[in-house]
Symmetry: C2
Subunit: 353 residues, 2 copies
């Protein structure tokens, strides 16, 4: 835990003064004041986070973390657990949704095995193995993982970020997930921390039917009853009802913020990771960008809890980082507005009457 | 008018059968069914519009049309009328918002003088001169243009599209506007056609204050009273309370649809153009994509009138095609999902239990 504390201590408030200066600069560009709306907000926030006047988002990285969930044996997903591993291979061969969208926006994809049930073939150098264990245990029967594993998962995620940051640089990070059963973990985390009703934060995940949804709600209620996670202790919540990929992504968020790197949240699972991170370090909020509003019903509550407003609602619910990829592109558009637009003076355009 | 009728006759329904086939293909890709939400809808619609199984949106073109408005002399804008010409020069030198965003999404920008008040220097080959007149007349005192000019503006827009289509190709078109005073024209068109109350479709444009807004509402009411545009005759509406750039963009929409090219609407003004086009040719609706929900209050009503739902709301209100540029990028993401993702079979991923 001391190593996590050390990371948290390094997270500083964003530069408010520089953000105010940036707003003045934006107001001098050849457009009615404020007329580029949230694009201007994004540019300003990137400046405040990075501390750079003319930030560039050249190195865009999507971190897609995969792990299995013991609770999958309770029939909470529409897909069999082996799909987690199969999808990791799909990520590595470039055929998944996140591959297509990462390429589309010019982002690198970093795929990490945080705890897939099977031993994955590692000859493919694109896969990072940070396996904490071969899937979590069934949270409906006891803690999903030990406290030690929860801490290890966060540190492993931080380590992945550190490796990428040192090797090729990271100007902006998107976080995404893959793990059959992980909406059950994310809903449990959200219910545990916010004390929202389980049925208000439990959705259909990959596409379960009404009966399966009723079962999923019961499973989550049981997991919370059996484990009694402490809402004031995010590590306890993560250990009892979380997942390795969720802990890992929380680690990415923490170390990114410590290095003044903005983080773009994807959907429901990655928002649960960000929630763990903000519970550990409230300053992290100012480093986060919400991308889309997911179809998953608890997502609104989760985003509100971390003080975020989504950019778009395209009725997506795939995860993997797909929404984050599209959002990174929009944030980059905002940054380019700041860096590339001409001022009224430069362009010889008359100002407001 | 016969030449417009000829274009309209060439517009055919989109290919519903091919769209259904495409949905089946999308359902076989390695993701839960429907989990990429509207990205799938966009891909499917592009297939239906183009009639191509594997469409590509390589040639992305933003058409930004500029013109002046006689009604500007009524004090309806926060900026002086000379800004229209100044902004055209800004477009040509690459410093405006639309330049930055068009570059960001890899789109060509076509800037057209449809009726700017002053004679623009034409040595810059990036500017197309299709001037119908040196600004419209003041609609608060009489018709903004003659019926002949209204028809000419539509045909000139169609001609611009035809030139680009033949020269370098157009796989998807975005439409944008520049014209001090043109929200007054767009609100008037909307009120005339939908019979909505003037105050419900009149916003602050470039940023006028409460008193200026009250004046703008009165000016629009006066224009409608003085001119009595026939709501069933879009050419009459365009002539009496429209603008040259609005007519021109309606022409782009019509000829694009006739050539099976999808059109992405930007904000309030370009939606008014699309409304004129759909009134002339109802089949055009299926060729349109709404990009963002503008801050301008009438935009919702306008989008509903042409059967469109916006993709995102980033509190933008700049025009020029800026929202369309971002939307083109999102539509292209959907098309790449269709073309590049692996199927369950190809990737060896298990299907739903």
């Amino acid at each position: 835990m001391e190593r996590i504390e050390e990371i948290i201590k390094r997270i500083k408030p964003v530069d408010e003064r520089l953000m105010q200066e940036t707003q003045k600069k934006l107001d001098n560009l050849t457009k009615p004041i404020g007329s580029l709306g949230r694009l201007e907000e994004f540019a300003k926030r990137i400046v405040g986070i990075t501390g750079k006047n003319n930030p560039s988002l050249k190195e865009k990285v999507i971190f897609t973390f995969a792990a299995d969930h013991g609770v999958a044996e309770e029939g909470v997903s529409a897909y069999p657990a082996e799909v987690t591993a199969q999808m990791v291979y799909n990520f590595l061969s470039g055929g998944a949704g996140i591959n297509v969208l990462a390429r589309h926006v010019g982002a690198r994809l970093v795929v990490v095995d945080m705890g897939v049930k099977e031993k994955l073939k590692t000859q493919n150098s694109k896969l990072k193995i940070k396996k904490i264990n071969y899937g979590t245990r069934n949270m409906a029967k006891g803690p999903a993982m030990t406290k030690k594993e929860a801490i290890e998962s966060i540190l492993a995620g931080a380590e992945v970020f550190a490796e990428e940051f040192k090797k090729d640089g990271v100007d902006i990070a998107g976080i995404g997930d893959m793990g059959i059963g992980n909406t059950t973990a994310a809903s449990s985390i959200l219910a545990a921390i916010t004390k929202a009703k389980v049925k208000d934060v439990t959705g259909r995940g990959t596409g379960i039917d009404d009966e399966q949804l009723r079962n999923k709600v019961e499973v989550i209620k049981r997991a919370l009853r059996v484990n009694r996670p402490d809402p004031t202790d995010p590590i306890d919540v993560l250990a009892k009802v979380g997942g390795y990929e969720i802990g890992g992504l929380a680690g990415v968020v923490l170390l990114a913020a410590a290095n003044k790197v903005p983080v773009v949240i994807d959907g429901f699972i990655s928002t649960a990771s960000a929630l763990i991170a903000t519970q550990l370090a409230p300053l992290v909020r100012d480093y986060l960008f919400a991308s889309h509003k997911s179809v998953e019903i608890g997502h609104d509550i989760a985003l509100r809890e971390i003080g975020q407003r989504p950019m778009f609602d395209l009725k997506m619910r795939l995860g993997e980082g797909t929404g984050a990829a599209l959002a990174i592109n929009i944030i980059e558009a905002g940054v380019k507005i700041l860096n590339q637009m001409a001022s009224f003076k430069e362009a010889g355009v008359s100002e407001k009457i």
